[in-house]
């Protein structure tokens, strides 16, 4: 097990810079999630780590082994890097049985037969797939195929295991199970795992640390789940992590006011202190908008939707529509205002950010595009 260090990595395709001067250090024995919208360069980064593409500058080290150094012209070929990989489309070989798939990396290391068998079975045990050893991938479900892929990545005791969106093709329930499983395997083996995803939810469930990348390929925050949730480094992280309301703040007679078509004075307790927030926007998560009879901020309920685990409201605050999520516990304890009712609201944990420039908005839309994948790649 070893730590992974990227230093000043630059990768470009045909004049277009995907990554520029990217640096990141992953501690040994941790699960680090690399999160960002698709197209932000996270896959490019892991392909550089695997040796499947060649950066223009920088160094990549795993433990004390230099895998790539642009200046010293070191570029260890992919097959000699000893990194495990789990792909989104599993990439288990459909013509080999489960055990053959898992033994393959050991065979390539020319290990003795007994050892291969014993270690492959051990790896299958880790992912609870021993009883399927002689099955072909086409006889397995998506989740089972992904387990085989994980076993194959673990079998050589790789220094690092890279997982590139390994659960994206599974259904919701299985996704949750696989995350737990990955966590448990990591606990047992203490492997360093670099987990790539565009799904912040699963990243939060899994990671020890999270690295969030912006669409331009730069790293905007690297920290624990708690740091990222509670202290997002910038507006991008704040928005990426969850849905929020944004209300512009203006100054009014030396104090601050919320610009909701009409100007509503900002309650004193929401004032952040020294910081000048005029011209910025107040960002607040949907479930941090709470009903409070005493609050001077009055809003009118324009619709209430029951969604089971929560109520969703659309409130009219001045001329502006804001959304609110109220969980069932709060609904039971504080009641559920009817459509048309006027209520007081207050904001918990407000953040203040600069307004978003228009082109950034476009980038977020772009990130919604889906990836194509081939059926055969799944081992069908």
């Amino acid at each position: 097990m070893a730590n992974v260090r990227f230093e000043n990595i630059t990768v470009g395709y045909g004049g277009h810079m995907v990554l520029k001067d990217f640096s990141l250090e992953v501690q040994s024995g941790q699960i680090v999630c690399l999160v960002g919208p698709s197209g932000c360069g996270k896959t490019t980064l892991v392909r550089a780590l695997l040796g499947l593409n060649k950066p223009e500058t920088g160094t990549i080290t795993v433990g004390d082994k230099v895998l790539f150094d642009a200046k010293k012209h070191i570029n260890v070929p992919a097959e000699k890097r000893n990194i495990g990989i789990v792909f989104q489309d599993y990439a288990v070989w459909p013509h080999m049985t489960v055990i053959e798939n898992v033994s393959y990396p050991l065979k390539k290391q020319r290990r003795p037969k007994d050892e291969i068998k014993q270690r492959a079975m051990h790896a299958l045990e880790q992912v609870r797939m021993t009883e399927y050893a002689n099955h072909l991938p086409s006889q397995l479900s998506g989740g089972q195929q992904q387990r085989v892929a994980i076993a194959r990545a673990l079998v050589t005791d790789s220094d690092v295991v890279v997982m590139d969106e390994p659960i994206t093709n599974l259904d919701a329930k299985l996704r949750e199970e696989m995350l737990l499983e990955i966590r448990m395997i990591q606990n047992r083996l203490g492997a360093t795992i670099l987990y790539i995803t565009h799904d912040q939810q699963s990243a939060l469930q899994l990671c020890d640390k999270m690295a969030i990348m912006q669409p331009d390929g730069s790293l905007c925050q690297f920290g624990s789940d708690e740091e990222i949730i509670l202290n997002p480094a910038n507006r991008f992280v704040f928005e990426f992590i969850g849905v929020s309301n944004f209300i512009p703040v203006v100054s009014m007679g030396g104090k601050y006011a919320l610009d909701c078509g009409e100007k509503l004075p900002l309650p004193a307790e929401l004032n952040p202190g020294n910081e000048n927030i005029a011209g910025k926007e107040l960002g607040v998560r949907l479930n941090d908008v709470v009903f409070d009879k005493q609050s001077p901020l009055r809003a009118k309920v324009s619709s209430r939707i029951f969604l089971g685990s929560e109520y969703n409201y659309f409130l009219r605050l001045g001329q502006k529509e804001i959304r609110v999520q109220q969980d069932m516990l709060a609904a039971r304890l504080y009641g559920t205002p009817e459509e048309g009712e006027e209520i007081g609201v207050t904001f918990l944990n407000p953040h203040y950010y600069d307004p978003k420039p228009p082109e950034q908005a476009a980038a977020v839309v772009e990130s919604g595009k889906k990836k194509k994948f081939s059926l055969f790649g799944k081992g069908a």
């Binding site: 695997l50 040796g51 499947l52 012209h73 070191i74 570029n75 260890v76 070929p77 992919a78 097959e79 000699k80 890097r81 000893n82 990194i83 495990g84 990989i85 792909f87 989104q88 489309d89 990439a91 288990v92 070989w93 459909p94 013509h95 393959y104 990396p105 390539k108 290391q109 072909l136 086409s138 892929a149 194959r152 050589t156 994948f373 081939s374 059926l375 055969f376 790649g377």
Partner: protein, 565 residues
């Protein structure tokens, strides 16, 4: 710097493969085609349109051209209507015994049409057809009721062999179609009949036109049926005319040159059809396969069920059973012309055929040729597919076009090209009258089959499968041999059979290329019949039919096993 070295090595291997690919295609495909064009327009090294204009203005050639077009268009129209009708009947209605009938409807696909033409000639020949004679005496007619030796006769036999092109395309499209497309029309208020007319048929249009154009191009280039049915009556099509010209000139260079000029005419006609095909096919295929997989609701035929079932069975008997039975019956007859009575039956014809010089050789030749053409094309096709799909060199489109080209040009034309190229014109290499020249023609003709299947398989091998192997410690070559090749092996095998089976029954190409010792099975049957030894020809044809059935069964079994994996 181990990495750099690795990259160079990879580059070299890919480079070598690409160059090898280009050279082989040059020899097999480009040179013969070039030779045709050269000889049609150049005489003794000088450009000359004389030959071409004399051929173009020859009334015999013009009428052959008109016949070709007429037959092809009629065959296409009738075959398409028949194919669509039966596809709908077997794909969508509640007619019984669907599975069995579907299998039977594909049978014509297995046999060479010239066998069917032979059988129908025996039955409905304008002068001596068995059925004709029987009908005349039974009903006391003054003349023969049918004459198969006409344009319509040729169309009838071609339709019965080519309608499966449309049938198969449409039936599979019908089955994969999202049933809610039809259901939503019902909800919109349309009756069943309106739904078929306004929704189902328009949605099938791409599949129908794909199948129809396949009939059109195949019929334009077809040799067997018109040569058997039309020859005696002086009905020529371009392919049979080319054959006649060369045959009559007893293989002289002048004859071959005339053939080359005629070939250019045929190629122009076929090319027009191909351009039409590309235009129509690129105008869009609809995405009609989505949503949950649901069995389409079958349409109840109610009262029409029995009549339609009878019609379907009658069609099957007519196109499948009658020709086969006829060939078997004639093979037992003591002498051609005798009534089909039990006392006239004998096994002697089989004995005669097998005691004849060259019969066994022809079977052996066919086996040798189709197995070696199958294997060589399988590897060459996979090589081209690999270069096109994975290495992607500059000019890969050219490579693709070249490998598909020979299948688009008629077999007769291809033979002339091969003759022109390999009877001494280049480096004095003469392969004439050897198996080699036929082999080259087969490889060129069938290369695209294996190229296409391997190409489709390679496209499905996602790059992450190879990358996973690299990361697991396999080198570039190892990932190729451990992962890629095994994955496309089934496709390669089916590519082999796709070539092996049609090559076994080939006539069109071989008939211009064979020499005294290099007759193929098809050619042998054809020439026995040509020489008037009809019962013997039927006997050998029966043997061929049995061989084809056995081979097809073996292939189906093998491919079934593979699918099970």
């Amino acid at each position: 710097m181990p990495a750099a070295k690795d990259n160079e090595r990879k580059l070299n291997m890919d480079g070598i493969l690409t160059v090898v690919c280009f050279i082989l295609l040059l020899i097999i495909v480009v040179i013969p085609i070039f030779m045709i064009i050269y000889n049609a327009f150049f005489f003794e090294g000088k450009f000359s349109l004389d030959l071409f204009t004399t051929q173009m203005t020859d009334s015999k050639n013009l009428s052959a051209m008109w016949n070709t077009v007429q037959i092809a268009i009629l065959t296409t129209i009738i075959g398409t209507i028949m194919g669509v009708f039966y596809a709908w009947l077997l794909g969508r209605s509640d007619i019984p015994a669907k599975g069995l009938m579907r299998a039977l409807f594909n049978i014509p696909y297995m046999f060479p049409p010239f066998l069917g033409a032979m059988a129908w000639d025996l039955l409905l020949n304008g002068r001596s057809g068995y059925l004709n004679k029987w009908l005349r005496t039974t009903f006391g007619l003054s003349q023969m009721p049918f004459n198969i030796n006409t344009i319509w006769g040729i169309v009838f036999v071609e339709v019965s062999y080519y309608f499966p092109f449309v049938f198969m395309q449409v039936v599979s499209a019908l089955e994969r179609m999202d049933p809610t497309l039809e259901e939503s029309a019902r909800i919109a208020g349309a009756k069943q009949g309106t739904v078929i007319w306004k929704i189902t048929l328009p949605l099938m249009k791409p599949s129908i036109s794909a199948g129809a154009l396949l009939i059109l191009t195949t019929s334009l280039a077809h040799f067997g049926v018109p040569s058997i049915l039309g020859y005696a009556q002086g009905i020529y099509t371009l392919p049979t005319r080319i054959y006649a010209v060369i045959y009559n000139s007893t293989g002289s260079f002048e004859g071959i040159r005339q053939g080359a000029a005629l070939s250019v005419m045929l190629v122009v006609v076929v090319a027009l059809a191909l351009i039409l095909q590309n235009k129509i096919l690129s105008s869009g295929s609809y995405d009609i396969i989505k949503g949950k997989s649901m069995r389409p609701t079958l349409i109840k035929l109610r009262g029409a069920k029995i009549p339609l079932l009878i019609l379907a069975i009658f069609t099957l008997v007519l196109i499948v059973l009658v020709p086969l039975v006829m060939i078997f019956l004639i093979s037992f007859i003591k002498a051609y012309g005798l009534p089909l009575k039990f006392e006239n039956f004998t096994f002697a014809q089989y004995q005669k055929v097998f005691n004849m010089n060259g019969t066994l050789d022809s079977i052996k030749n066919s086996l040798i040729l189709s197995i070696s053409a199958g294997i060589i094309s399988m590897f060459l096709g996979t090589l081209v597919a690999y270069v096109v799909q994975k290495i992607k060199p500059k000019g890969k489109e050219v490579l693709e076009v070249i490998s598909v080209l020979p299948y688009s040009i008629p077999g007769t034309v291809l033979s002339i090209g091969v003759i022109l190229a390999w009877s001494g014109a280049i480096f004095g290499i003469s392969l004439y009258n050897t198996l080699w020249i036929i082999l080259i023609a087969y490889i060129a003709r069938y290369l695209s089959f294996s190229m296409k299947t391997s190409s489709a398989a390679l496209l499905q091998v996602h790059s992450s499968l190879e990358e996973a192997a690299r990361v697991c410690g396999a080198s570039h070559t190892e990932s190729l041999s451990d992962i890629t090749l095994p994955l496309i092996r089934p496709a390669m095998v089916s590519g082999f059979f796709l070539i092996f089976l049609p090559a076994m029954r080939e006539v069109t190409t071989s008939i211009l290329l064979y020499g005294p010792k290099t007759m193929t099975l098809g050619v042998k049957i054809y020439s026995l019949r040509d020489a008037g030894m009809i019962p013997q020809a039927a006997a050998l044809a029966s043997v061929a039919i049995v061989i084809i059935i056995i081979l097809n069964t073996i292939v189906t079994e093998i491919t079934k096993e593979r699918k099970g994996v």
